[in-house]
């Protein structure tokens, strides 16, 4: 048996029984990485020495038998958007190519405290802007199921590293689908928690009202384990929610009998990919067989979500990315000795095409004379989208939809046309605009053997019910046990 294909809870059992040591396990993952990285290219930075040091520490903790969590000694990867003290954090951008943060993000701090072993930092679309990881300024990551295809994005390195068995789990961020869509493309579980559930401190900002960190795992139990470690109030993030954190694992295994699953007609549209539709409809039948009640619902403003998102997210990005000016950190291009020229040349040389396009769009929509027509209008329609969910959740407990309109697409297929790329997020964006939690779990394969994802959305702070429903579906199927052949 290859231990790099095991889940967190399976590894944790073996670590606790001393069948494995964390150092041994870490070496296994590093060896796996060495053999599959030339094909997949998930990692920007591998921190082998730090990982082995953390593993030695975890082994001591395990030997002492005290203060052990399900993550103690378990190797994971981290999206290169989370600041890691003393370890390069690039956001896959040339402008931060040599940036070494002097502090840990709260998410990384909490995972380290739980005893997780961080193997390294993984690839992403630059500043999390993209749906294929092709916008990384460093290199492209490939899909472990078919290396001619993208792993999805923006957290493509997270999804690919978990699917390829280079780590037991990963953490990514989701602004418009950047956890759920790559999870769907790579056949793993990806959870976006409620906005404010997980601290954003030290998580490099893209769109502050939408960004949320969350886990990538091989199954739903692991997702609950990771969320337990990540969630909770943080005084360093004023938008983090000060609400008690339940034990998310306690929701698992309770079944879905009587659970009302809303099916929004707007997410099952004519012309959608046949394999995706068949897999998702099949998943709904499984949930029904498990005792759930399928309820038709409507989310009438769904068709406006992409337009709202690309105004709101770019407006926030144009302001957040103003900090990259060549003064405090990052790249500086100073040829003429003029301050203004330094700003402009630094930013032109440091940002990639998609980032510049979004800064331009955001700056335009916030500029004098256009604010009401674009940003304000979009924020009002955002209210309508949120109201749609509020009404729907009066009739159901969770909402089930496809995660993405298609399985993983070919490298280069959507690069030339930004709008086509944006439309690959049509099923994931509304969730961020409304702030609610959502998960993607494997629910089948296309005829070509590519994974398909089922998305389950829940009420504010109701990750427990989302995980309960996801677990119930997962236990009735074995899609989550499939691994790519590499």
């Amino acid at each position: 048996m290859d231990i790099t294909s095991l889940t967190i809870h399976e590894l944790s059992e073996r670590l606790k029984k001393k069948e494995l040591s964390s150092v041994g396990l870490t070496k296994e993952f590093l060896a796996r990485m060495e053999s599959v990285e030339p094909k997949i290219h998930s990692f920007i930075t591998v921190t082998a020495n730090d990982a082995l040091e953390a593993a030695r520490h975890a082994d001591k903790r395990l030997a002492g038998g005290k203060d052990i969590t399900p993550l103690t000694g378990v190797p994971i990867s981290v999206k290169d958007i989370f600041c890691t003290k003393g370890v390069k954090t690039t956001c896959a951008s040339k402008i931060l190519a040599d940036f070494v943060p002097p502090y840990d993000s709260t998410v990384v701090r909490r995972l380290k405290d739980a005893g997780a072993v961080i193997l390294g930092k993984v690839n992403m679309d630059e500043f999390a802007m993209g749906s294929s990881t092709e916008n990384s300024a460093l290199f492209k990551t490939l899909n472990p199921w078919d290396t001619s295809r993208v792993p999805g994005g923006s957290s493509g390195g997270s999804a690919a590293s978990v699917a390829a068995g280079e780590c037991a789990a990963s953490v990514g961020t989701d602004t418009g689908g950047s956890i759920r869509q790559p999870a769907s493309c790579c056949g793993v579980v990806g959870l976006k928690p409620t906005y404010g559930r997980v601290s954003r401190y030290g998580m490099i900002a893209f769109a502050s009202s939408l960004d949320q960190g969350g886990p990538f795992t091989k199954d739903v139990r692991d997702s609950a384990i990771m969320l337990n470690a990540m969630a909770g109030h943080d005084p360093r993030d004023s938008t983090s929610i000060d609400a008690p954190v339940p034990d998310y694992a306690s929701f698992l295994g309770k079944g879905v009998k009587g659970l009302k699953v809303g099916i929004p007609k707007e997410y099952f549209i004519e012309g959608m990919d046949k394999d995706v539709e068949a897999a998702v409809r099949g998943a709904l039948e499984v949930l029904k067989k498990e005792g759930a009640e399928l309820v038709p619902i409507t989310l009438p403003h769904t068709e406006y979500a992409v337009a709202v998102y690309y105004l709101v997210a770019t407006a926030e990005a144009s302001s957040n990315l103003a900090r990259y000016d060549g003064v405090k950190y990052g790249l500086r291009v100073n040829e003429t000795g003029s301050l203004m020229d330094m700003y402009k040349r630094t930013r032109d040389a440091g940002f990639g095409g998609e980032v510049k396009r979004r800064i331009m769009l955001g700056t335009y929509s916030l500029s004098a004379g256009y604010y009401d027509a674009y940003y304000k209008k979009a924020s009002q329609v955002r209210t309508l989208i949120k109201n749609d969910f509020d009404s729907a959740f009066r009739k159901c407990d969770v909402i089930a939809t496809p995660t993405a309109p298609t399985a993983a697409f070919k490298l280069g297929e959507k690069v030339a046309d930004p709008l086509t790329m944006y439309l690959s997020d049509i099923f994931t964006i509304s969730c961020n605009l409304a702030g609610i939690p959502g998960i993607s779990i494997p629910c089948g394969f296309t005829k070509d053997g590519l994974p398909i994802g089922l998305q389950l959305l829940g009420k504010d702070l109701d990750e427990g019910t989302v995980l309960k429903a996801a677990y119930s579906y997962e236990q009735a199927t074995d899609w989550h046990k499939q691994r790519p052949r590499l």
């Binding site: 070494v100 335009y364 209210t383």
Partner: protein, 95 residues
């Protein structure tokens, strides 16, 4: 409303981006296309609807005013492209 090259140059200036001629032509077309798509929002009557900017209630958060250690100067300057006498150094701004 059509986007002109002049608009793109103005926005690039506001965004502090020194775009090349090729980029300006490219973005003029692409921004036009994206903005035509978002025009879709004008189909909706949003009169009187409160905008949502955050999905959690934003409140002023208070804490005790306690002295806590902050980042040492050396570490704060660790990533500076240029520094002098413990400060970030920038090109001359006053003639």
């Amino acid at each position: 409303m059509p986007i002109t090259k002049k608009d793109v140059l103005h926005v690039a200036d506001l965004a502090r981006l020194a775009l090349t001629d090729t980029e300006i032509d490219l973005y003029t077309g692409q921004l036009q296309r994206i903005l035509s798509y978002v025009e879709k929002l004008s189909e909706l009557d949003t009169k009187g609807i409160e905008p949502t900017t955050y999905t959690v209630p934003l409140m002023t958060v208070f804490r005790e005013d306690e002295t806590r250690p902050s980042l040492p100067r050396e570490e704060a300057l660790g990533n500076a492209p240029e520094e002098e006498k413990g400060c970030f150094k920038v090109p001359k701004i006053i003639e």
